[in-house]
């Protein structure tokens, strides 16, 4: 499994986990982009997008040592819903790596997920339908530091 695939899998697991005080994002968490809606599978806001934004191996260790930036944002119809979603996401992800204080996220047979750290806040308003509709995006940029086990 690639480093990014492991990171995506762990992020998704943390987002949809039911072992949290906040509602699970199960069925409302998408990698990279929400799929195109269909009649049988509409996409309803709010939902969460997690997507790679930058970074790569630090090359500070003999084994692969990815240092990835992954954006996780809540997409909502109102600013209040977007901000509330961001708060819930942060409660699930920030400081949740295997070496972090909360230790909620783990890697797999090939990779450690050492730390997951909230960095910059992301917040913007998308002017959809030529400005007739506003879609609010709010979330954070998470630095995911990993290390290959084998």
């Amino acid at each position: 499994m690639s480093d990014l695939q492991t990171a995506y899998t762990a992020l998704r697991a943390a987002l949809i986990s039911t072992a949290s005080n906040t509602p699970s994002w199960a069925g409302r968490a998408y990698a990279d982009q929400a799929p195109a809606p269909t009649a049988s599978a509409p996409i309803t806001r709010p939902y969460v997008i997690y997507s790679y934004s930058g970074g790569g191996d630090e090359n500070a260790l003999l084994q692969a040592d990815p240092n990835l930036l992954i954006d996780v944002t809540c997409v909502a119809d109102t600013v209040q819903a977007a901000l509330a979603g961001d708060t819930e996401i942060r409660a699930r992800l920030d400081d949740s790596g295997e070496q972090d204080i909360r230790r909620g996220m783990t890697g797999d047979a090939e990779w450690y997920i050492k730390t997951v750290t909230h960095e910059q806040r992301l917040h913007f308003v998308e002017q959809a339908n030529n400005g007739a509709t506003q879609i609010y995006h709010s979330g954070g940029r998470y630095r995911v530091i990993m290390e290959r086990k084998t």
Partner: protein, 122 residues
């Protein structure tokens, strides 16, 4: 276990040579803008996840730098499109062009630039 980063020498150098550091940061901002322009200087259309290519060169032409105050410089574009491309929208997969360049600077280019400017050997 905890670790503390000792940046006292760097802070002293900045206090003693503020103009020199400010000028260097201006150079860094300019170089970052140039790196972004290089990364997007190919014809579109781009693939999701890749930096955006150019159709009209609007994004490229609006990238600019600005000195906000002493020791704080900004690299920016005034176009909404820049945010949409960098972070994605509901219907547009993101095409990051700013973050990958910043990450390269964080990883090694900033140190190279400081060494080239002989900043740390005063």
């Amino acid at each position: 276990m905890s670790a503390t980063l000792d940046d006292s020498v760097l802070r002293t150098l900045i206090d003693v040579f503020p103009v020199r550091f400010d000028q260097w940061l201006g150079t860094v901002a300019s170089d970052i803008r140039d790196d972004i322009i290089v990364s997007i200087n190919y014809p579109g259309p781009s693939k999701p996840g890749d930096p955006p290519g150019y159709d009209t060169q609007t994004l490229m032409d609006t990238l600019d730098i600005s000195r906000i105050q002493a020791l704080i410089w900004a690299v920016f574009s005034p176009k909404d499109r820049a945010v949409y491309l960098e972070l994605g929208t509901e219907k547009l997969a993101k095409r990051p062009f700013f973050t990958p360049v910043l990450e390269a600077w964080r990883q090694y280019k900033l140190q190279q630039s400081a060494e080239k400017a002989n900043l740390l050997n005063v």
